[in-house]
């Protein structure tokens, strides 16, 4: 075990970890918007819209993220959209997480008492305002623990975007290995960085869970 090598490669690994965080958090934020829209579409009274959302959610939850990543990366240029790897990576992760987040939000909306919506209607609030002022703020708060869980899953999945040459933590460690021929040290260090990031996130998650008090919504186990 070459400790000097691990310490020497830490700056590069830290830059990779920053990229990992950037990719994951961007995808989570974009997935939040898309997932929210999807969950509204899923609960919509329009049968076609609801069926389309259900199809999207089922399909995207059934396709491995690596396959989705290859599809986005190879198929976008085929339809004439030249996307740099970073954009393709964030797009694929967003499309995936949106399907899972949609189910999380659906679980959250189910918890809100219908009386609130009826009361808001009686007070003359429009449907959009009911959504933006009453439903969404509560749901976001209710599902934060599930959302933190989703960030952990996504952070781990983001290691796959190394396949399309995005220089995040995984890719950086691969580059270091091809330079130093020391896979044990480099991969172990990268592995520990991932575990560290996720331990911080899960500590945050259990703190939030205690504050919110067991309001559990759906999502990945």
């Amino acid at each position: 075990m070459d400790l000097g090598l691990i310490i020497g490669s830490l700056p590069a690994l830290a830059r990779g970890a920053a990229m990992t965080l950037f990719v994951s958090l961007t995808a989570i934020a974009l997935g939040l918007v898309l997932g929210m829209l999807l969950s509204f579409a899923r609960m919509s009274e329009n049968r076609w819209l609801s069926a389309a959302a259900r199809f999207y959610i089922s399909a995207l939850r059934g396709i491995p993220i690596l396959v989705l990543l290859l599809m986005v990366f190879y198929l976008l240029p085929a339809v004439g959209l030249e996307a740099p790897p970073l954009v393709a990576a964030i797009a694929a992760l967003t499309l995936n997480t949106a399907a899972f987040q949609a189910e999380i939000y659906r679980g959250g909306f189910a918890v809100i008492p219908p009386g609130q919506i009826e009361a808001a209607r009686v007070l003359g609030l429009g449907e959009t305002r009911i959504k933006t002022r009453i439903l969404i703020p509560q749901v976001i708060w209710l599902v934060t623990p599930a959302l933190v869980n989703e960030i952990i899953v996504l952070l781990k999945n983001s290691s796959l975007v190394s396949v399309i040459a995005v220089t995040e933590l995984m890719r950086v460690s691969q580059q270091l290995v091809s330079k130093t021929y020391k896979p044990t040290e480099v991969y172990l260090a990268a592995c520990l960085l991932y575990v560290l990031m996720n331990l911080c996130l899960s500590a945050l998650g259990s703190r939030l869970r205690r504050r919110i008090g067991g309001a559990s919504a759906g999502g990945r186990p």
């Binding site: 396709i63 190879y74 592995c191």
Partner: protein
């Protein structure tokens, strides 16, 4: 394109075989970890490191450690073995948590009743607790198997000739992109849907006795 059907089918078969083997390994590892931390106090920390460590690391880096770093420590594995061990141990950490929830949901009264009837702890485990396990852990376990199947695509990166790897070979040979990728996505989706339907069916079968006893108590 149709000429490549055997290649795809072979990949599908490898994926199914690898997922089955990893699931068995994962269940065994999960149960072993859960029983160890229940009964051997001194190893509890080690079990915690295993569960937290593996759940916090991406499967890809675990596979790289097994396939590229382990030879440096004298452990040379072929891609399939490394893949099954990696997927199995990784999911073992999740299965351990699933088993824990299963054991926790067994009513205390059952264990107390069994021990007051003079059953030894080992017999309580094998005769009272474990027989109930399948019904208790089935829904979360099926969920985990679905995640495992999707994660198995990552094995293509360490050159295991499974579904994703075989399909990318076709892409490289034919330069056709859309069709192979679409078939690939559809096959995974079908596999996942199939497993989830199978899970629902066996859940109904395994919990049938619960309904029967309910009816039984109502009659008496």
């Amino acid at each position: 394109m149709a000429g490549y059907a055997p290649v795809v089918l072979h990949g599908l078969w490898v994926t199914i075989a690898i997922c089955a083997a990893s699931t068995l390994l994962g269940l065994a590892a999960g149960l072993a970890v859960e029983l160890t931390r229940q009964h051997v106090r001194s190893l509890r920390v080690l079990c915690r490191v295993y569960v937290e460590g593996l759940r916090g690391a991406p499967i890809l880096i675990l596979l790289f450690l097994l396939y590229y770093a382990a030879p440096g420590l004298g452990l040379v594995l072929d891609p399939e073995t490394a893949g099954v061990i990696g997927l199995g141990l990784y999911n073992g950490a999740y299965f351990a948590e699933i088993f824990r929830a299963g054991f926790e949901s067994i009513p205390k009264g059952q264990v107390e009743a069994a021990s007051s009837l003079g059953l030894s702890p080992l017999r309580i485990l094998t005769r009272v607790k474990l027989p109930q396990m399948p019904a208790l852990i089935l829904p979360p376990a099926v969920n985990q198997v679905i995640i495992l199947i999707k994660d198995s695509a990552v094995l293509s990166i360490i050159t295991v000739p499974e579904l994703t790897k075989e399909t990318s070979k076709i892409i490289n040979e034919t330069f056709a992109i859309a069709e192979p990728l679409l078939v690939l996505a559809l096959l995974y989706w079908a596999l996942v849907e199939g497993v989830s339907q199978l899970g629902l069916k066996s859940e109904r079968r395994l919990t049938r006795y619960l309904k029967r006893t309910e009816e039984g108590t109502r009659c008496s």
